[in-house]
Every structure is written in C-alpha cells, then in structure tokens.
C-alpha cells in the first residue's frame, strides 16, 4: 500500500493545478489528494483526472475543495 500524497494547488492560475496533478500522477502511484480553492481549478483537475481514467471524489473543507483521486 503506497502512502497518500497531497498536492496543494490553491491559488494557482491555469493550467498549474492540472500540471501539478499530472506530474504527481506520473511520479506517484498511490492515491492522490489535490487541494484547490477555485471552482475552475476543481473542474479542470476533475476533468483531467477522469479523462485519464481515474476516479475523483470531491469534498469541501472550509473554503477549499479536496479532490481525492484514485485508480
């Protein structure tokens, strides 16, 4: 079981949240948690991960979104 890692992409402009997620998915093979604070970033990361065949669940934490990305 690989450890879960967290990518903090809060406050980043396009396309950085997606690029950070992409890089993390390429180097890490366990579950991934991505933290974003904008609706746009949430949509973009979700669309990207789902297009790559991952499952994405979104939850809200304070004013941020937490995207849990898993195979």
């Amino acid at each position: 079981m690989l450890a879960k890692i967290t990518v903090d992409a809060r406050g980043r402009s396009c396309p950085e949240p997606v690029v950070m997620t992409k890089n993390a998915l390429e180097t890490h093979h366990g579950d991934l948690e991505v933290l974003v604070d904008a609706e746009v970033a949430k949509e973009n990361v979700k669309r990207f991960a789902e297009n790559k065949g991952f499952k994405v669940t979104v939850s809200e934490k304070d004013e941020d979104y937490v995207l849990f990305i898993t195979k």
Partner: protein, 363 residues
C-alpha cells in the same frame, strides 16, 4: 465533461460579434478585447490617437456580466498576490503584440471567420507563442500562488466598469470620442452593453479562453475549451454570410483594419500568445477573472490598458498601412523581455528545488 454547453456558448459569441458589426461596430471587430481597451485608453485621454477613442460598452458588459454571475454562483472571491508586477508587464506586452497584429486572439478568430487570411498567419504565430510558453510551464514556470484578500479589492474592477458606464452616458467634455475612424464606428450603446453582459456571463460560466483552448489541446490533449473556439468560428462565419455578406472576402489583400505583413502578423501574435499563456489566459479571460475578484488578473488588465495607451503614444500600433518601425522594435523588445522573465522565473525555481533536495535528510 459535455462539450455541448461550451460549443453553444462559443456559437452565441460568434453570433453576437456578427450582429454587433451589422449594427455599427467596425468590420471584423464585433468583439476585440485588445482594441476595446485601446479605445477606452483613448477615451480617457491616455493616448491622443483621434481615430481610436470610445468607451466600449462591451467591456463594461463583460465585467458586469461576469461579476453578477460570479456573485450568484458564489464564485466571487477577492484574491491576489501572484506576481502582480510581472503580470502587469505581461499584460502590457500582450497588448503591444496584439496591436501590431491588429486584434486580440478573439478578433483573430473573427477575422478568420470573415475570410481574412492574414489572421491565419496570426493564428500560426499565436500557437507558436503558446508552444514556447508551454515549454516554460513544463520546466516549472509559475507566477506563484494567490491568497484571499480583503473583499474591498474585488469590488475595484466592477466599480471601474460602472464608472466607465457613467462616463459613457454623461459624456463629460474631458472624455474623448472619435468623430471618424474605427473609434467612431459602434453599435448602439444598449445593444453593445447587453451583448457584453451576455458574453461576460457565458465566459464566466464556461471558462472559455482563446489561449486556454490551444494550450489545453497541446499540453494535456484536452479539447474542451477548443470546442468553444470552434463554436465561435463556425457561427461567426455563418452569421457573417447572413448579416454582413458585403464584407465577406477571402484573401490577404485589403482586409478591413488589417495589414498583410506576414512577419509582423506572425511575431505580433507570437508575443500575444506567449504573454497570455504565461498569464494563464487571454485578454478576455483576464477581464472575466478580474470581474470575479482576481486582482492579479485586474493588474494584467491595467497592463493591457497601459500597453494600449503606450502603443498609440509611441507609434508602435500597426494600421492598414502596415507596421511602423517602432512597432517592429517594440515586438522584438517585448519578446526579449517576456522570454527573459520566463527564463528567470524558471531558473530561480529550479535553484530553489535543488536546494530543497539537498536539504532532504534520509532516515
């Protein structure tokens, strides 16, 4: 994600652009974010080129339309602090490049949809600039994160839009309005404003972005935003044939508010594409983000306006006659400065990453 909504949104933008031309905007300039900011800079007296001075209500509409929807959808979030000064410089040079080509990336699509093949040269340059920018992004280019700010920051841009609208309605003597040239050609105020509100709302909801469309397609093989651009192109083409058939003409020569200087059409849009991709969005998208409370995007917008004023004060903007020497020099200087900034950011970032790795202790 379904592509229907963004395709339709793009189509509506293409239709509105053709209608704005039919009702008075200059040909192929139903919507041009760069030209409109340049006209606003002129109306405010920041430059004195008498043919390009008008407070374009479309811009007011973009801002207020996006602001209203952002508030309604709880997406209005005052934020900032992501390299504002670099964003100002990038906005400035995006405008310098756009005014050498004669149009923002959106007008480039509209010009293409009316048969202006010079815009095809511009498009190739634009994509070239985006590819260069993507190279920097892959190497880790980032302007850093923004942080939540006091709400007051977020209301500055919507307030600015309302002040522009008041000045447009009141027409005080210190505001300049062109009597001839492109600045004097405009659709009725209410129509322009309503069209702007619709476009602002649509772009806020769909996140449509001219630079994002090509960037995402190349970088992550995601064709979502590009679909919206195709919608703009196709519907603008059809609408032009229906509403403005006399102006439709396929070719390079004698296109309205355009020149056929291949090299500078290419390089001007390369600069606009590179600057926009580093900013994270095209001039239209920066405007929408600014309306949503993104003060970094707002700083980029002020960079665009300053670039518009500079371009006409120092004779760097092109015209139908071609690109002046000052404009050629400005594009080269712009490319050098923007590439230098991007390289410096990447270099600094890699240096920090090496230090972090050296500092890692194992066990």
């Amino acid at each position: 994600m379904r592509k229907g909504p963004i395709l339709i949104a793009g189509g509506v933008i293409g239709l509105l652009a053709a209608l704005l031309v039919k009702f008075g905007n200059p040909v192929n300039m139903g919507i041009c974010v760069a030209c409109f900011y340049r006209d606003i800079a002129g109306a405010l007296g920041l430059h004195r080129a008498e043919v390009v001075q008008y407070i374009r209500p479309e811009i007011v509409g973009f801002i207020l339309g996006a602001f209203i929807l952002a508030i309604a959808k709880n997406e209005f979030k005052p934020r900032g602090g992501s390299s504002p000064l670099i964003r100002f410089i990038l906005g400035f040079f995006v405008m310098i490049g756009a005014l050498v080509f004669l149009g923002c990336p959106l007008r480039m699509i509209l010009r293409l949809a009316n048969g202006d093949l010079n815009a095809l040269v511009g498009l190739i340059g634009f994509v070239f600039g985006i590819v260069i920018g993507i190279g920097f992004i892959k190497k880790g280019f980032s302007l850093g994160r923004s942080y939540k700010q006091n709400a007051a920051n977020g209301y500055i841009i919507p307030g600015f839009a309302i002040i522009l609208l008041v000045l447009l309605l009141a027409q005080p003597a210190f505001i300049f309005f062109s009597q001839e040239g492109p600045g004097s050609a405009h659709a009725p105020l209410l129509l322009s404003l309503v069209a702007g509100l619709i476009v602002g709302g649509l772009v806020q909801r769909t996140r449509l972005c001219t630079v994002g469309g090509f960037r995402d397609a190349i970088l992550i093989k995601d064709f979502h935003l590009l679909t919206g651009l195709i919608g703009i192109f196709v519907v603008a083409l059809i609408s032009n044939l229906i509403f403005n058939p006399a102006a439709f003409k396929i070719g390079f020569a004698e296109q309205p508010i355009a020149h056929s200087d291949f090299v500078w059409n290419f390089l001007g849009m390369s600069l606009a594409g590179l600057g926009s991709v580093l900013l994270g969005g095209c001039p239209l998208r920066q405007t929408i983000l600014a309306a949503e409370g993104d003060t970094d995007a707002a700083v980029a917008v002020f960079g665009l306006i300053t670039g518009g004023a500079f371009a006409h004060n120092f004779g760097t903007a092109a015209s139908a006659k071609g690109v002046p020497a000052n404009g050629q020099a400005a594009v080269i200087i712009g490319l050098v400065i923007v590439l230098a900034i991007a390289s410096f950011v990447v270099w600094q970032k890699q240096k920090v990453e090496v230090k972090v790795k050296e500092g890692v202790h194992v066990g």
